[in-house]
């Protein structure tokens, strides 16, 4: 009869556990007594506080762009157009009229690092050396690894005077300012002083200063009262990694956070009814499969097109995702200057997909493996989305094995390219067509690793020609025309399978005021106030 006793004890234990869990939820009320903004990130860990954050663009969004400035920053003040660049630590720049490879940047004179040291041209040179010059004493390979592709067109850089620097590019390259937004400038004094331990004492010039960090749990930043730009209106910023979307929702509803990135879409109605601010906006985002075009079935253009014809994007966006995404048939969306109107869009047409597969020599389909993330920056709800698409593919005969791995691991594997020792057909990784270098970075022959992230090793001479013209064009309208041609080619030949564009679902509690949801991956946190 001991079993009955055991059973009773067990049931009692369960009830107690449920009761305690309930208590916990009720008692942990809002943290908003001081002006502290708490954000639930979708990352599974805290992004590195070094000048090259981990966790993809979410790392830049909440840590990199908050702690540091680049020579050039992003203008995140507009809701109605895709974000563009704006002066950062450089107040202006110009390209030499005689030699378009020479850029002169005039620096701000009123900037101080968080540790009080004044900012000068030497600091730029120091940081460039740290990222670009392996012979320099403070060169850091792991930091440099994250920005390698943003530095590939820079040939040399030099200090002209204390507040002027000159950069020479390897060829005429009009996209340089966009690259420089990712080269963050840290205090040389702090790097020299702390060495390996710098990440625990990061010093930049950005709107927020580092306070402390509990690994895996939270990162606390505070307002930088002597920031040169718009000063933050809040006192503190706490960032919490929560890779699980229902955990983010729970934290938001119980008042533990004021801001949740992408909660479950089914909760939107209830959140709106409860007075939360549900924000959506178009932004240059695409959720694709980056295909292995070098070898295997995906090297055949018809197979890639067949896959594009086999996805029911409408059902995916509207039914599975409740309208927080829009179907993607190209890298960008209709209305964007780099969306090519002339290419026929990919529709949901399984019959056509089967025909194309048969033409390509796969009348019975084939097996392939996709590596997908479990969460993370811009990846939305990767597992249910992948499972949905897996079923679409199965209908036309493409049998996909889904291999789900953690986001930062996936970034590392993706940067290393497709593995040689096993068959991988695609990486599912959300990418950011935010700057004119988009097509250059992802599709140019010159961007094969290690010089870029064209990891599928797609190559097209005509595309390379258009991209060269775009790089050499310093006129925006002309440049966009060339990029539009490039967009047409990659839509037609589809080195990626285009799936959806995210609408940047983000939910803020009622008392968060003044936030502008920009058409960008990044966010300006200085305009926010808490009521």
């Amino acid at each position: 009869m001991t079993s009955i006793l055991k059973l009773k004890a067990f049931i009692l234990l369960m009830i107690t556990a449920v009761f305690l869990a309930g208590c916990n939820n009720n008692s942990s009320s809002s943290t908003s007594d001081s002006k502290t903004l708490v954000i639930a990130m979708s990352a599974s860990n805290i992004p590195s506080t070094d000048t090259t954050p981990t966790e993809g663009y979410e790392g830049y969004r909440f840590v990199g762009h908050q702690l540091y400035d680049g020579l050039v920053n992003w203008d995140l003040s507009k809701e109605d157009t895709p974000a563009d660049v704006t002066p950062g630590l450089a107040e202006s720049w110009e390209v030499s009229p005689d030699d378009p490879t020479i850029w002169t940047f005039t620096l701000r004179q009123d900037v101080k690092f968080h540790d009080g040291t004044p900012f000068t041209a030497d600091d730029i040179i120091f940081n460039f050396d740290r990222n670009k010059n392996p012979d320099s004493e403070y060169y850091n390979a792991s930091v440099a690894g994250g920005v390698l592709s943003y530095l590939k067109y820079i040939e040399s850089y030099e200090k002209i005077d204390d507040f002027t620097i000159q950069i020479k590019t390897t060829e005429p390259y009009s996209f340089l300012p966009y690259d420089l937004t990712f080269i963050k400038i840290a205090s040389p004094k702090a790097i020299k002083e702390h060495g390996e331990d710098y990440v625990s004492h990061p010093i930049g010039t950005g709107p927020f200063k580092f306070v402390n960090m509990t690994q895996g749990q939270e990162l606390t930043l505070e307002a930088n009262p002597s920031y040169w730009g718009n000063k933050p209106k809040i006192d503190q910023l706490i960032l919490r990694p929560m890779p699980d979307s229902s955990a983010r929702l729970a934290a938001l509803q119980s008042g533990q956070v004021h801001w949740a990135e992408i909660p479950p879409t089914e909760s939107i109605g209830k959140l709106k009814a409860d007075g939360f601010q549900v924000l959506l906006n178009e932004y240059p985002h695409v959720w694709p499969y980056v295909l292995n075009t070098k070898e295997g079935p995906w090297s055949d253009e018809r197979v890639r097109q067949a896959a594009n014809f086999s996805i029911d994007r409408e059902a995916l966006s509207n039914s599975l995702l409740n309208g927080v995404a829009k179907p993607a048939t190209q890298v960008l969306y209709p209305g964007h200057p780099w969306f090519n109107e002339e290419v026929d869009p990919y529709t949901y047409d399984p019959e056509k997909a089967k025909e194309l597969l048969a033409e390509a020599g796969y009348p019975n389909g084939f097996d392939t493996t996709f590596i997908v993330p479990t969460s993370g920056s811009g990846n939305m709800w990767p597992l249910p989305m992948n499972e949905f698409i897996q079923k679409n593919f199965k209908e036309v005969g493409i049998n996909v094995t889904i291999e789900a791995i953690e986001w930062q691991t996936l970034i590392t594997e993706y940067r290393a390219g497709f593995p040689d020792d096993k068959e991988v057909g695609a990486y599912n990784i959300s990418l950011a067509p935010i700057a004119p270098w988009t097509f250059d970075r992802y599709f140019a022959t010159s961007s094969f690793k290690p010089n870029g992230v064209n990891i599928g090793e797609y190559s097209n001479a005509e595309l390379d020609e258009w991209l060269k013209k775009a790089r050499e064009s310093f006129d925006t309208a002309e440049r966009d025309r060339y990029l539009n041609e490039a967009a047409g080619i990659v839509a037609e030949e589809s080195p990626w399978i285009y799936v959806v564009h995210d609408l940047n679902l983000r939910v803020l509690s009622e008392n968060v005021e003044g936030f502008v949801q920009p058409q960008s991956w990044f966010a300006d946190l200085t305009t926010i106030s808490l009521e």
């Binding site: 009955i4 055991k6 067990f10 979307s245 089914e266 599975l320 709800w381 499972e387 897996q390 291999e403």
Partner: protein, 299 residues
Amino acid sequence: MITENTGQLSNPVILNKEEKEDSRFKEFSRRFLKNRPAFLALILLGIIVISTIMAPIIAPYDPYEGEITNRLQVIGAEGHILGTDEQGRDILSRILYGGQLSLLAGIVPVLIAGLIGGSLGVMAGYFGGMINTIIMRTLDIFYAFPAILLAIGISAALGQGIDNIIIAISIVFIPPVARIAESAVKEVREEEFIEAARTTGAKNFSIIRYHILMNIFSRVFVYCTTQISISLVLASGLSFLGLGVSPPTAEWGVMLNNLKEQIFINPLVTVIPGLFIFISALTINLVADGFRDALEIKQ
């Protein structure tokens, strides 16, 4: 039990073998049936096991086909008794199919661990000395790690897949089974009938086969049955963490993980896979307890 048993075995001429087996089984059944919770648990467990085995016949829908427009139906929705999941698939059908893998992952590791751990334990216990030291101290290394961590570590190293989960849990269970077997053998080894067998010139192998195994079997068997529920929960846990089957395969742990997104929106549907893990583990435990009481083993 042990003394009773040895008594019987040391006087093998008194009863003929069949009669003896028969009466032992009768006694066991009588005791087990008297233990009502265990008996009811056995019936419930039987229903669960048989339904999952018969899933292809009784499942109302294909577990891998669903209408996306019909997703996240509540419990009791028309045509879907347990509702539908995030892809619009019938949850009842997925539970039935998923149970095959989940229950398999509960039983197979215990069988493997019982065989390997049992043999190692018997060898260590019977031969003693150096062999005992080598086997038992090697297995002790595994005790240095908490079981769940060890299982996570092994299956993470082996990679995703239910087969790797089974291997990982088997490895975790080998040392405790070996320990039980070893201590049981040590007790039996000193008995007079073993001595007697030895003096009549019986080989080690036949002594183990006829005398040792017969006497330790019930103890090892009961211990193993209590481990099935732990194995089931462990396997579901690893699967929940994403180390198990890859989508779209149905398995209770994975289903729980997929549905957890809906916990605040449709909590009842979310807990269904968890409820099945819970009920299965509980009934297995009660049945194992019943076996133990019926066999009068004190642990």
